[in-house]
């Protein structure tokens, strides 16, 4: 029996789950979608599509479990499987190549930053946000999930469908890349 046809909830219960457990996360979902697509209309479409899928497969959701992580996983998969293909901003970078480069053992010796707390404190949110947005999507994603949305490594592993050790190493590399960009930006702007 497919997930879609396995009826677990009555119509009333479906609406309760949807309104009570799914809808409270729409704000975070939009924020995540916007940081993936950089386009308001695309982000809205992605969130709409995610919620339609969530409703369609609502019987595979266990009430009381982590609805936010479940929804983020659907959104991330929609973005990768369907959305990125028809996006108005097609990927210009070979992410697999970057991923394999940044997952290599010697990567940390290639990224060494001397970023100071005071430098970051001098910056405005938009400058940091711009640096985050300039990261390849897989690295941007782990920072969003961890530092903006507060997911644990275990939750991130489930959302991204990768081992927990990869979450740890990818997040570390992503933060190093972000620091490197911030440091470069600070030098450009003459921040001390």
């Amino acid at each position: 029996m497919s997930e879609e046809s396995a009826k677990k909830y009555t119509e009333k219960e479906q609406n309760e789950v949807f309104d009570g457990e799914f809808m409270p996360h729409v704000d975070s979902m939009y924020s995540f979608a916007y940081r993936l697509t950089f386009d308001e209309d695309d982000a809205k479409d992605l969130v709409q599509d995610t919620y339609l899928k969530a409703f369609r497969f609502i019987n595979s959701f266990e009430r009381g479990t982590n609805a936010k992580a479940w929804l983020f996983r659907i959104l991330k998969n929609s973005f990768i499987n369907e959305f990125r293909k028809k996006s108005k901003q097609p990927a210009k970078v070979d992410y697999n190549e970057i991923e394999s480069y940044y997952n290599s053992d010697d990567v940390d010796s290639n990224i060494t930053t001397d970023l100071r707390v005071e430098t970051v404190q001098h910056m405005i949110g938009d400058e940091i946000s711009g640096a985050l947005n300039a990261l390849p999507v897989d690295f941007r994603t782990v920072i969003i999930l961890s530092d903006l949305e507060g997911f644990t490594y275990e939750e991130m592993a489930k959302i991204l469908d990768i081992p927990i050790g990869t979450v740890r190493s990818r997040l570390h590399r992503a933060r190093n890349m972000l620091k490197e960009k911030l440091e470069g930006y600070a030098k450009e702007m003459g921040y001390k």
Binding site: Y30, Y51, V120, L148, L171, H172, L178
Partner: protein, 97 residues
């Protein structure tokens, strides 16, 4: 012992020389990340805390990383994009149609 705990223990050993001085700051920063993300288990955290109490270099590295991460988190949270008005209602409409 979880994979992360095992990794923490092994990496911790690599960070210090026989005289207990911090010799690998890059590796140590990876441990700091786990602590700041609240992903280190009790035993790993105790080992870590003891070290930052007794080693100036480790303490300074930890405080720097903590300050940078907190500043980045705060500033990113301040510029979350606004959700378009009507999106929630539009979602509700689409599932009831």
């Amino acid at each position: 012992m979880s994979d992360i705990s095992h990794w923490f223990e092994e990496t911790f050993k690599d960070c210090y020389c026989a005289e207990n001085n911090l010799v690998d700051r890059a590796k140590f920063k990876e441990l700091v990340q786990l602590v700041l993300d609240d992903e280190a288990d009790e035993k790993s955290r105790a080992l870590f805390e003891e070290k930052i109490r007794t080693c100036i270099s480790s303490n300074s590295c930890f405080e720097d990383e903590k300050g940078i991460l907190n500043a980045i988190r705060t500033k990113l949270a301040d510029c979350k994009s606004e959700m378009p008005s009507g999106l929630a209602q539009s979602i509700k409409n689409s599932i009831s149609s």
